[in-house]
Amino acid sequence: MISRRKALRAGAGLAALATMGAPSIVHAQTKTLKITTWGGKWGEVMKATVLPAFEKEFKCTVSADQAFPFLPKLQVSPKNDPIYDVLHANSNEQWNAVVEGLVMDKITAKEVPNIADVYPYAVSDKIVGVTIFTSAIGLGYRTDKGLAKPTSWKDLADPKLAGARGGYLIPVNSLGQAHLMMLGKVYGKGLTDLDAAYKALEALKPIKLVDFTGQMEKMLLSAEVSMGVIHDSGVYRYEGANMQPVDFASPSEGVLALEQVLNVTPGSKVKELAFAYIDYMLRPDVQKLLAEAVWYSPANRKVKLDAKYDAKLLTTPEKVATLIQPDWKWYNARREDIDARVTKILKG
């Protein structure tokens, strides 16, 4: 027969077990994945379709931060409890983050199975994390100014374009930084030939500089510039909108890659969910949806886009081979000197 004392002890033990187990049950029910993501059309599609479907499938909530810049916020959050689980950023920022130990060095198909289906550039040695999409940086130009379609990066230096060519404030924009490296390749010995790049940059003056791609789109659309450095998505997304006389050209020397890279923070408390999110973003159906919404080239080889997107985006191994990936680790290590030098070159 169970004594009153034994019964009380057993009851207390069960209660304690229940109390200890409860937090984990509650935790499992309310898992939250903290991510960064872009705004604009991309953000609309993510919030309307992509993220709700992920939340439903993985029984979690996703907290998405669209307020740029992300890296300073990650920098000041504790490494063992970071403000984000998944960092979505361009490649140069991912390299800055990895140097400070804020994101993982490498993600493989073991953690994210869909990596097995991506183009090699998506996980090349120029990438930390995984590329989910890329854009091609080339030349945008007005088709109503009597200009021939540019075929080389050198066409931007055409004297006829003095004051009507556009570029970026190099210290604050990765397209400007990539273009500087491309000047080294086109006019010198390679992407790291900074002396040749500086000389070529000087020759581009007078040039109108902006700090973000949206502003370059606006300058091209308003004819404030006739030709400018821009990514293909920034031109193609206006297709059919009031018949804008703007087109994109891929120079023969190659186009620069503007990768959309996902990476996981080492201190994330929901790492498995973070990997599942990256895997989900690489699924062909998700890739197709986002690629066609914002004209990004999908990293997954198995994605079949509709004909009009397939014709213009980088969707075959041959087209992907024209992509040039800058060495951001090399660039970031010299960044302060480069910033000072280009500021002096372009000022005045």
Partner: protein, 291 residues
């Protein structure tokens, strides 16, 4: 307990403002100053150490851009303040002396109306007016008056034009209150004693309005040296100010420590200018410091 020992009711009313000031200025500024003396973030990086290297980097300026950026910031601030004063003073004087209540209300609305629109929107509006394919250049080229666009934007000129437009209301509103409180009969008395309009203004109204000039100037100067959006959008390659450099250091170079040092330097230099300005105006007014 005596009444003298109790805090006055006004002290309780000031308390929220004091708390806000401490929480959102004193504390963040103290943290920023402390960060500027560290090599990294001491909270997240155990290897961060105390250093003066960020200040040395600015002081020795081997990059050759920091001193120019400081001078450019102050120059833009000073010119914007002077132009705002020159435009704002006559307008404020006219408003303060206006007899018609309706007229006063209408002018006041005209002054305040631009402030109802955000700075970004107003700056973009100036861009559409001043850019090479903007309203002014396109019109002048269509009329055959110019062959190539006038350099109205992508330089300090365009930046100052937009800043003056944004900050003139602050000058006008500050001056109107002060000028409105000057007894008009003092100017009339000076005129009845033989002074002309100009002399009565210069020797009576202007000195009495110096506190307003000081307050308005300080407000506009402080706002324009800390402006970020307008110089970034209007300045092109020609304008690099300290707020732009600070944003660069935080947002793209990920160096908040150097950004903190630049912030401290900007504040110290601005304070020195403000103190000097205060003393000069006080001497002109024949009194002690006014602010």
């Amino acid at each position: 307990m005596t009444n003298a020992a109790r805090p006055s009711p006004i002290a309780w009313l000031i308390a929220p403002a004091g708390l806000l000031f401490v929480l959102f200025f004193v504390l963040p500024f103290a943290v920023m100053t402390a960060m500027s003396f560290y090599s990294g973030n001491p909270v997240t990086n155990p290897n961060a150490f105390l250093t003066t290297r960020h200040y040395e980097r600015f002081l020795f300026d081997t990059a050759g851009i920091f001193h120019e950026a400081l001078w450019s910031t102050l120059r833009i601030g000073l010119v914007t303040t002077i132009v705002s004063l020159l435009i704002g003073y006559p307008l404020a004087h006219w408003m303060a002396r206006m007899q018609s209540r309706l007229g006063h209300a209408l002018v006041l609305m005209a002054v305040i109306a631009p402030m109802l629109t955000g700075i970004v929107v107003r700056t973009f509006a100036w861009m559409t007016i001043l850019q090479d394919k903007g309203v002014i250049n396109t019109t002048l080229m269509q009329w055959g008056l110019i062959e190539k666009p006038l350099p109205l934007m992508y330089n300090e000129f365009g930046t100052i034009v937009a800043l003056v437009h944004i900050y003139v209301p602050f000058m006008v509103l500050t001056l109107t209150g002060v000028i409105g409180r000057i007894d008009e009969r003092l100017e009339q008395a000076a005129r009845s004693l033989g002074a002309g309009r100009l002399r009565a203004f210069v020797e009576v109204t202007l000195p009495l309005s110096l506190p307003g000039i000081l307050a308005g100037s300080l407000l506009v100067f402080a706002l324009s040296i800390s402006a970020y959006v307008t110089p970034s959008l209007m300045g092109g390659t020609d304008v690099l100010t300290l707020p732009m450099l600070i944003a660069q250091q935080v947002g793209t170079s990920f160096n908040p420590n150097f950004a903190g040092a630049l912030g401290v330097i900007l504040l110290l230099v601005s304070l020195a200018i403000v103190v000097a300005y205060n003393r000069i105006l006080a001497r002109l007014a024949g009194g002690q410091g006014m602010a």
